[in-house]
Every structure is written in structure tokens, then in C-alpha cells.
């Protein structure tokens, strides 16, 4: 089993929203960043992977096993942070330990309390007394304390300050030190993913519009800035999208080195995920 997560032709219809033929492949030992606007379908995709929603079609395999047929077996090895969904807030971190001991075979109380200490989370205070950032950290500690092989994280860094985001990203990278483990992480905070994600999957309006390795996207792709005259000289085949503003044209190209060889335009930069998102969504072809 080389792929930890495989989604094939996932479709789901809601009122006024549709997931269309979602395909995702996440190999072992890798981090996949799942990016897109709010409402693009990130959470719905994750809910389908976890079989939380109903009436979707397509095939979802986790650890090579069908997600419905092997529900219990699979979930023993998955850790999740879901946007807004967690234990009732009158419970305490201590209570979570008591409960999880009986839910996961591999629940590691020692590890859990170590994370609580590392994150300076009080064990005896109700969840509702914690700040938003502390709550997220608690959710993360809860997600990884049973030694899962796959982490599915929906917006795990939302609401965290930069220091906390750093701590959390450290934990994710620590997690991936084991080559058997993978992370599927959705976020609209793209800077978090820019460096650590090995794959970037981009969802827009219920469709996957891009699935590439980080290397291809951030090292090969480029953003060309040029004048209208220069833009008109460029072959349509040589760029993916463009956006025009008052003073310049921004053009997304697949390979900045190749582009540089062909055209005499000097301002070609590396692209950030944020720029990529904006150009892919707002750009024209």
C-alpha cells in the first residue's frame, strides 16, 4: 500500500452546491495541502472522506481499504481536527483523556498529557473557558495522542497566533518523521502550507482545479509581470491564466525557466500560493 488516501470521482450534491469528480491521491509519508476559498468544498470533501456526510458517490480508500466497509479499522488510525466540531465544551481536557482511553485502542495518556503540558493547557478547566487558540491546540493534542497514521485536519491553524502556528507546524513535521504517516491538511492560510506541504491540491467551486507537487508549483511555476505590448506577443499556449490591472499584466506560467528562454521578459518571479489562488480564481484565459 503506497497511497494512504485515495479519493476517486467523489460527487456530492447539496442545495446550490456540488462536489464534482473529486480525485485525490496522498502517498505515504507526505503532507498534502488542500487549499481553496471558503465554501469551495474543502470541509464537505473531508466529511465525505470520514463518512460523516451521506449520499455521496465515488470511491474512497484509506490505507487501501474502503472507507465505509472498514470504518472502525480505518478510524483507529486516523486523527482528526474538524472545523468547529469537537467534544461538548462543558467537558475538560481530563475528561477527554478518560473518554478516549476507551475509544482508541492505542490511546496514549502519557503522550496526551505531555502535549497538554507543552501547550500549557489546563487539564481541569472546561473547554469553554479556553481561548480559541488553546482550544485548537487541545483539538490537535487530542488528534495525535493515539499514534495515528493519517491526520486529517480541517483548518487546524485558524485562530492561532503566529507563535502557536509555528508550534503546531513543528508538531506536524515531527509527526511526519515516521515515514508511514501522512497528513491531509486543509487551509485557506496558505503561508502555513507553502513550505511544509509536499503536494498542493486546489479546490474551487466544488472541483479540483490543480494537483501538483510543491516543487512544481512553487519552484517551476512563475508569475510574469509585463506591459500590454509584451503581453500581446505571448503565445496563448504559454501561460495558464492572466490578470490585467491598471499598470501591468500578471501572467501565470507553468515553467518560468522555459518561459524565460523563449521570451525576452525579465520580471518573472516565483509564485506564492496566495498569488496562485488569486490568479487561478480571478484570472482570465
Amino acid at each position: 500500500m503506497e497511497n494512504i488516501l485515495e479519493v476517486k470521482n467523489l460527487c456530492k450534491k447539496y442545495n446550490g452546491f456540488e462536489l464534482q469528480n473529486i480525485n485525490i491521491t496522498l502517498p505515504k509519508g507526505m503532507i498534502m495541502g488542500f487549499i481553496g476559498e471558503n465554501g469551495a468544498g474543502k470541509t464537505t470533501t473531508i466529511k465525505a472522506i470520514l463518512d460523516i456526510i451521506k449520499n455521496y458517490t465515488g470511491e474512497i480508500k484509506i490505507f487501501g481499504l474502503d472507507n465505509k466497509k472498514y470504518d472502525k479499522k480505518i478510524k483507529e488510525d486516523i486523527g482528526v481536527v474538524l472545523d468547529d466540531m469537537f467534544f461538548p465544551e462543558i467537558l475538560t481536557p481530563n475528561d477527554i483523556n478518560t473518554i478516549m482511553k476507551d475509544i482508541y485502542k492505542n490511546w496514549d495518556s502519557k503522550l496526551y498529557f505531555k502535549y497538554l503540558t507543552d501547550f500549557s493547557l489546563p487539564a481541569n478547566k472546561a473547554i469553554k473557558t479556553l481561548s480559541k487558540g488553546m482550544r485548537k491546540k487541545l483539538e490537535i493534542a487530542t488528534a495525535i495522542s493515539h499514534h495515528p497514521k493519517l491526520l486529517i485536519l480541517d483548518e487546524p491553524t485558524a485562530g492561532l497566533d503566529p507563535i502557536a502556528r509555528n508550534e503546531v507546524i513543528d508538531i506536524f513535521q515531527e509527526f511526519i518523521q515516521n515515514e508511514e504517516c501522512s497528513i491531509f491538511i486543509s487551509s485557506h492560510i496558505t503561508t502555513d502550507l507553502e513550505h511544509i506541504a509536499d503536494y498542493i491540491t486546489f479546490i474551487n467551486n466544488g472541483k479540483i482545479i490543480l494537483e501538483k507537487t510543491r516543487e512544481e508549483l512553487l519552484e517551476d511555476y512563475g508569475i510574469v509581470k509585463c506591459s500590454k505590448e509584451d503581453f500581446e506577443k505571448i503565445d496563448k499556449k504559454d501561460f495558464i491564466k492572466y490578470k490585467k490591472s491598471k499598470y501591468e499584466y500578471e501572467i501565470l506560467v507553468e515553467n518560468r525557466k522555459a518561459f524565460n528562454k523563449k521570451y525576452d521578459i525579465n520580471t518573472i518571479d516565483k509564485i506564492t500560493l496566495e498569488e496562485l489562488m488569486v490568479l487561478m480564481i480571478k484570472g482570465e484565459k
Partner: protein, 210 residues
């Protein structure tokens, strides 16, 4: 499974203080002879369990639970089992309290009055909860509360109307004559109610879009 039951019991535990105070007030009232203590049983356990539904709903626990091993199967089952545990616990507490209060007040234990009232309350508790849970899973706690109030009021009104306008003495006679079977009939009907309610809740939960 055990973990899911523990979760509900721990939630109840975190509300324990409020219920201890409530219990104290009622004990004082019972000593003054103002209120029959047995009424506490349905009131308390229904209140406690409904508050767990509200918290579950508010923090979207049910969706989260499905991401845990055996979550979809166990989370409804655990709710019913926790309820049974709670009902048994409150029944024992209230029964002992009633006996004690009765003994302190009159130096005898009034079995003849206490036990039927206890059974009556127990029955009412199970009845209300059997209706409430599927309603909770279907409509959420806000609307389910309205369902509860509607049920209680309509039952009260119907009872009121029936007792004023209909002569119930023949029925009471019949019921009296079969009173020996009550001991069996009541527990069986309670179990049956809970079971049917559980099956309905499970079906609703399994079809629900979380």
C-alpha cells in the same frame, strides 16, 4: 462504546452541583410537606439528559463522534445506555430519600404510597424520554423542547378533560383487578418503549446529514 457512555456521564457530572442544590431545595420542601419528592425523578433525569443534547448539538459532537472508531454505531446507543444508568441512579437516590424522609417524619416507612408513586414517575420519565430522543435527533434540541412542552401540556389537558367529563370508575376497577400484573407489565412496557425509541433514533441518526 464505554468511552461514549463515559462522555455522557461526565457531562452529567459537570452539572452535578446545580442538581445537588436542586435536590436540597426539594428535600427542604418535602420536609415541610409541600411537595411530593418522587416528582423529582422525571424532572431531574429529563433535564440532565436534555442538557447533554444541547451541548452535543452546540459543539457538533455527533459529527465529530463519527470520525472516531465505531462512532456512528455507538453514539446513539451510548446515549440510551447512559440514560438507563441515570434513571437507575436517580431512582435509587430518590427512593432512599423518600424512605428516609418518611421515616423521619412518621417513624414508619410509607411503602404503600411511595412505591406506586415511584413506579408512576419512572414510567412517566421513560415515556417522556422515549419521545424526546428521536425528536432531539430529528429536529435538534431547540425544537425538541417545544415537542416536549407540547406533549406534556396535551397529556395534561386530555387527562384533565377526561377526568372531569368521563366517569372513570369502571376503568379504575378493571385496573385494580389486574394490579397484580402491573409489576410485570410496567417494566416490560418501559423496556419496549425505550427499545422502539432507540431504534427510531438510530434510524434518524444514520440518515442524518451532519
Amino acid at each position: 462504546m464505554l468511552g461514549f457512555i463515559k462522555k455522557d456521564l461526565l457531562m452529567i457530572k459537570s452539572n452535578l452541583k446545580i442538581f445537588a442544590i436542586l435536590l436540597l431545595i426539594y428535600i427542604v420542601m418535602a420536609f415541610q410537606g409541600q411537595m411530593d419528592l418522587s416528582f423529582l425523578l422525571p424532572f431531574m433525569s429529563v433535564m440532565v439528559m436534555i442538557s447533554t443534547f444541547s451541548y452535543d448539538f452546540y459543539n457538533k459532537w455527533d459529527a465529530y463522534a463519527i470520525s472516531l472508531p465505531n462512532g456512528r454505531k455507538n453514539s446513539v446507543k451510548a446515549k440510551y445506555l447512559a440514560t438507563i444508568i441515570l434513571i437507575i441512579a436517580t431512582t435509587i437516590i430518590i427512593t432512599i430519600l423518600s424512605f428516609t424522609i418518611s421515616y423521619v417524619k412518621t417513624k414508619t416507612i410509607d411503602f404503600e404510597n411511595i412505591i406506586p408513586t415511584m413506579i408512576g414517575s419512572l414510567f412517566a420519565t421513560v415515556l417522556i424520554q422515549s419521545f424526546m430522543y428521536p425528536a432531539n435527533y430529528k429536529f435538534g434540541p431547540e425544537k425538541a423542547r417545544i415537542v416536549l412542552i407540547t406533549i406534556v401540556f396535551s397529556v395534561a389537558i386530555i387527562m384533565g378533560v377526561v377526568t372531569t367529563y368521563v366517569d372513570l370508575s369502571p376503568l379504575i376497577k378493571i385496573l385494580d383487578s389486574i394490579s397484580a400484573y402491573w409489576l410485570i407489565a410496567i417494566p416490560i412496557s418501559m423496556i419496549l418503549m425505550l427499545y422502539v425509541s432507540y431504534k427510531i433514533s438510530e434510524k434518524i441518526y444514520n440518515k442524518k446529514e451532519m
